[in-house]
Symmetry: C2
Subunit: 126 residues, 2 copies
DNA sequence: TCAACGTATGAATAGGTGTTCATATATTGG
DNA sequence: CCAATATATGAACACCTATTCATACGTTGA
């Protein structure tokens, strides 16, 4: 977590152009806790390997071995990333003997993924 | 960019449980270029500082000075982050004398932000 | 034209992240 | 109960990122 600057007296080191606007906007910003969780959620989607994992699991439930093959990632790396996604409660898992099957546990993520894709594709078109 | 593992002969180092499924899913994964752009887009949203900037600019157009005050960040750090967002074409800017006004240049991002917020808030509720 | 001001940027640095390698854990077949 | 197998995890390492500090750049008022 980067150090957040605190300015009690003067908020900014340069004179404000429109203090009223600054106050107004600052007052409407989402609280820190929520923003932090939001950042964590997007961070889960900010890596190509996790995106591939998420997309794969959004298609079908898979065991770790098959998943790692499908996304072309080592078993270990796949497992590490699955833990990240598990901690964020984006995937769920069930045991089946020695196998562990993972699947998406969050429809919002599917939605974010889809909406992000739409944006990128439109961006590519230009 | 992390090193991507390549396995020509054997895709995985462990025997596959369901090779057909692996093939099927792998075939449907989004191509690398698009996935990479998608990851970049989400990466822009994966930091609380940038999220605050994006939210502020989604409310009102602001000059760098006022923006840095509103999001409680140094002028320099704000400027650095604006460059990141500019490179991703998420914000646009216009000069007004010595001032430079920034605003959101991407409605999709507003949508992603909103949808992400919705997810997080529902998550907090539980 | 020059000083002042708002913004941008390069370098340095501290902290974070993703992978690999080695190994531990859990489950089952024999 | 033991060997084999699937998955998980800790440590190490290379790379990336966000901030600060110093300074450069661009614009304007005097």
């Amino acid at each position: 977590m980067p150090v957040l600057e605190t300015r009690d007296t003067d908020i900014c080191d340069v004179p404000l152009v429109d203090p009223e606007r600054v106050r107004r906007v600052a007052a409407r910003l989402t609280d820190e806790v929520t923003t932090s969780l939001l950042a964590d959620t997007f961070a889960a989607l900010s890596d190509t390997t996790r995106l591939r994992i998420i997309e794969a699991l959004s298609l079908e439930e898979m065991c770790v071995c098959d998943l790692s093959a499908a996304v072309r990632l080592s078993q270990s790396a796949t497992s590490h990333q699955l833990r990240v996604l598990r901690n964020l409660r984006l995937v769920k898992h069930r045991r089946a003997g020695r196998l562990v099957y993972y699947s998406l546990d969050d429809d919002h993520i599917r939605g974010l993924f889809a909406q992000g894709l739409e944006h990128v594709r439109e961006d590519i078109r230009r």
